[in-house]
């Protein structure tokens, strides 16, 4: 029997307390992974949805904090297309639109000559013809949710659109999008001649200096802001609020979890003062006793971290399965997030055991043995 085996036997035979401590660590780790993962995934999913179209720069109205609130006049598109370094420009009108059964879907309007059409991965059906109106491409995920197939009608803002194609994008936002002709959506939203975003394709996408020059040229045109997709949500107050809320919740969950775990570890050690006295009486040094207690704390936190990772993954799946979240965000905790959180939990287990172990071993063996 070595220290590890001794710790394992102690924990195994105090099953209820060990399980509760492990669950405490697990909930702290799991909550943090889920909630922090949610806040990170919001950004990543939006970026991914633009990147999937080959967008190098995204242009939006400067000063409008809400994502779909700003509009850009379409007549700026030819002007921007003339800027040196710009390969192509596509306008996109985005809005949440009421559909059947009081549900909402993300509707996207693309102009007939947009390069977006060339990036749409068709799973079935076809692209709309240039002269067609009130036709739609439907994302694979929203088609499944709404139980729609090619040939069916989908209602957007009270108007019926015939589904002619089924898209199979990678990003969850695009998979839940209904794509229609720009003119149709402009008409339904009373935004004739306006788009929400402009997507820019650069001639040399890897040339950061050129990207900066193009951004400056666009921003000089009118009250516009141009940025790579990873930076486009930086000043967006709605996404900012969502991120702040989920991040705050993650930290609150972590803080509460940490307190709970520290309290549990403290109690676990202090309730064993007499045992510590016995160990001292049979010749265990303070260092050896502390080592034994810290190993127990480490084992508990390591198991807690493992269970917490599983809970975090399950929690992420659960959040992704909630329609209001899952249609736009695939909550996917990253490996670094999981690794850092699990590592932090184990360090916490060691540090959390260190203090009570230190306190407990400072007590005189006689006083410890006198404890009932």
């Amino acid at each position: 029997m070595n220290h590890l085996e001794l710790a394992y036997r102690n924990l195994k035979r105090r099953r209820a307390r060990s399980i509760l401590t492990i669950l405490g660590v697990a909930f702290a780790v799991g909550s943090f992974i889920t909630l922090y993962g949610l806040s990170r995934s919001v950004h990543e999913n939006v970026e991914r949805s633009f990147d999937e179209h080959g967008t190098d720069l995204t242009v939006k109205r400067r000063g409008i904090a809400e994502p779909f609130g700003g509009t850009i006049p379409e007549e700026l598109i030819p002007e921007i297309a003339k800027i040196p370094g710009v390969e192509d420009v596509a306008g996109q009108l985005l809005t949440f639109a009421a559909t059947d059964n009081d549900d909402n879907v993300l509707a996207s309007g693309w102009s007939p000559d947009s390069f977006y059409w060339t990036t749409a991965p068709l799973k079935a059906g076809r692209l709309p013809n240039p002269d067609e109106s009130r036709v739609a491409l439907i994302g694979s995920e929203i088609a499944r949710t709404l139980d729609k197939k090619i040939g069916d009608d989908v209602t957007l803002l009270g108007e019926k659109f015939k589904i002619v194609g089924l898209t199979d994008f990678h990003s969850i936002i695009n998979r839940n999008q209904v794509i229609v002709k720009l003119a149709d959506l402009q008409e339904l939203t009373f935004r004739t001649g306006a788009v929400t975003f402009l997507s820019i394709k650069l001639k040399n996408p890897g040339d950061e200096a050129e990207a900066d020059r193009v951004s400056q040229a666009i921003e000089a045109l009118d009250k516009l802001t141009a940025s790579p997709s990873e930076g486009m949500l930086r000043n967006d107050s709605l996404f900012g609020l969502l991120t702040a809320v989920s991040t705050s919740m993650a930290w609150v969950a972590l803080f509460m979890g940490v307190l709970m775990v520290l309290n549990t570890l403290l109690m676990a050690v202090l309730e064993r003062t007499r045992e510590i006295g016995i160990l001292s009486a049979i010749g265990w040094s303070k260092e050896r006793i502390m080592l034994a207690l810290i190993i127990e704390g480490f084992i508990l936190s390591a198991f807690g971290a493992l269970v917490g990772i599983a809970l975090g993954m399950a929690g992420s799946k659960f959040l992704s399965a909630i329609p209001a979240i899952g249609r736009y965000v695939a909550v996917e905790p990253t490996v670094p997030l999981i690794a850092v959180t699990a590592f932090a939990a184990m360090v916490l287990g060691i540090l959390g055991s260190f203090y009570p172990a230190w306190v407990a071993t400072r007590a005189s063996p006689a006083a410890a043995l006198e404890r009932a």
Binding site: L6, L279, S280, A281
Partner: protein
């Protein structure tokens, strides 16, 4: 410096509550290798405090203790002695409820250089010596009071100590088990040539020791003259 004495107490005293309660007053005692001694006295006479001081679990507020002539001044020295030279048997067994009988014995070997096989062999031997070879895998709560004290005795001898201190080892046992535990302790003491110092308030038990130390109000009142049982109680 070497000494024929195993453990010496020179003017040892102990007070609690910042000196307001004096538990031991100027104790001068020597214990030789291989001897058996009983410390007798009524409750509150200071005998348990004395035995805890004799193993370093309690630190005296005055005086010096010497092991084989060398003064023991640090907690580290006492820890090392308890690991290698001093075995302790408590009245209330002090076993770990989460460990089996064998594990309770083995836990006293942590820090020794013995390998896994050697430990196992010695644990089996110790349990065999106390007659519990067949109870090795039982938890303390699955053992009788007498069996628990046997496990505690096995633990106390596992490192082959020179000195065994027993603080009222039969205090929680019925008379039959008490007699068996005493027989075991004295057999071990004789077989191993170790020193046995036992706290008791039962003169009939104390008479089995070669030497009796009578205490009253924190002082040694006499030696080798067991007091009557009624008086001790």
């Amino acid at each position: 410096m070497t000494s024929r004495h195993l453990l010496q107490l020179d003017h040892v005293g102990h007070a609690f509550d910042e000196g307001r309660i004096v538990a031991l007053k100027d104790i001068n005692l020597d214990f030789d290798e291989g001897e058996s001694a009983a410390i007798l006295g009524a409750s509150g006479s200071g005998k348990t405090t004395l035995i805890l001081i004799m193993c370093g679990i309690r630190t005296p507020t005055r005086g010096v203790l010497r092991w084989k002539g060398q003064p023991i001044t640090t907690l580290r020295q006492w820890t090392d002695l308890r690991r290698t030279e001093i075995g302790i048997v408590f009245q209330d067994f002090n076993l770990f409820s989460t460990l089996t009988a064998a594990e309770n014995v083995e836990v006293a070997m942590f820090g020794s250089s013995a390998g896994t096989a050697e430990r196992k062999r010695r644990v089996e031997a110790a349990l065999g010596t106390v007659g519990l070879a067949d109870r090795a895998t039982h938890l303390p709560q699955e053992l009788s009071g007498g069996e628990r004290q046997r496990v505690a005795i096995a633990r106390s001898i596992i490192n082959d100590p020179k000195l065994i201190l027993a603080d009222e080892p039969t205090g929680n046992l019925d008379s039959k088990n008490a007699m068996a535990i005493l027989d075991l302790l004295f057999d071990l003491q004789k077989a191993r040539g170790s020193t046995l110092v036992m706290v008791s308030h039962a003169p009939d038990q104390a008479r089995r020791c070669a030497r009796q130390v009578n205490m009253k109000d924190g002082e040694v009142i006499n030696e080798n003259a067991p007091v009557a049982r009624e008086e001790a109680l």
